[in-house]
Symmetry: C2
Subunit: 156 residues, 2 copies
Amino acid sequence: MQVYNFEGALTREQEDEFYMKEALKLAEQAFKEDEIPIGAVIVAQNRIIGKGYNLTERLNDVTAHAEMQAFTAAANFLGGKYLKDCTLYVTVEPCVMCAGASYWTQLSRIVYGTIDEKRGYSTVAANILHPKTIIIGGVLEGECARLMKSFFVSKR
Amino acid sequence: MQVYNFEGALTREQEDEFYMKEALKLAEQAFKEDEIPIGAVIVAQNRIIGKGYNLTERLNDVTAHAEMQAFTAAANFLGGKYLKDCTLYVTVEPCVMCAGASYWTQLSRIVYGTIDEKRGYSTVAANILHPKTIIIGGVLEGECARLMKSFFVSKR
């Protein structure tokens, strides 16, 4: 999927919101399937090359986080395991597992929506990411957080 | 696969060596396939319920570590995503990604062979594992380390 430029290029902020909305659509799909609502897309050269949403319940597999599936899909698309010039958009701050996986991919950027106070990687250790990976938080934070809250309220 | 008791039960140490040898066989298989030679098995009630060896090159996927495949296989076997009463045997200390995954599985024990000075989870942060997970290092350390060294020497 391309970001269409109507009148000149989108700003980086507009681009980030555009792709975060795509990640949010996947998170909403997870919600519908009764999964913790987290979605992720991987973008390279203004194109989505990998997608994922949380499927830990359906697959009975703790490794089936949105990001992990997006990494695998993007690497399949590229035919190589490194995602050096790619950005991960994910609705919630990655956990330690996903941040550890992103280290191996050598992603250039991670853009996330809302923090995860309990198991976000940054609450555990700040040095988990690859030193070359830029991290940006808080993009469409409200929408991303609301979806998570609605899910957990519905589970009470 | 069962540990057969010929004259009374095996000690915990003998059991750990027995299963580490099984993990080493998988690591040797990885070596034959030109993959970084790391192998893993998951054991529950004296039975191997999941196996894996590193396949990051063949699958073009950084998430295809031995442990991740063993977690997925064991959860499939059990029909549930938690591995609470299971032990992971792995020839090399888990990386951050795999240690982060083990947190989600709530594994009861991790037994590893040789440390990974560069990207072992403990070099990054000690608090990555689940607080209930017991960690034991150095089982068949020499064999596990020799296999890794031979591999990297062969790559020079």
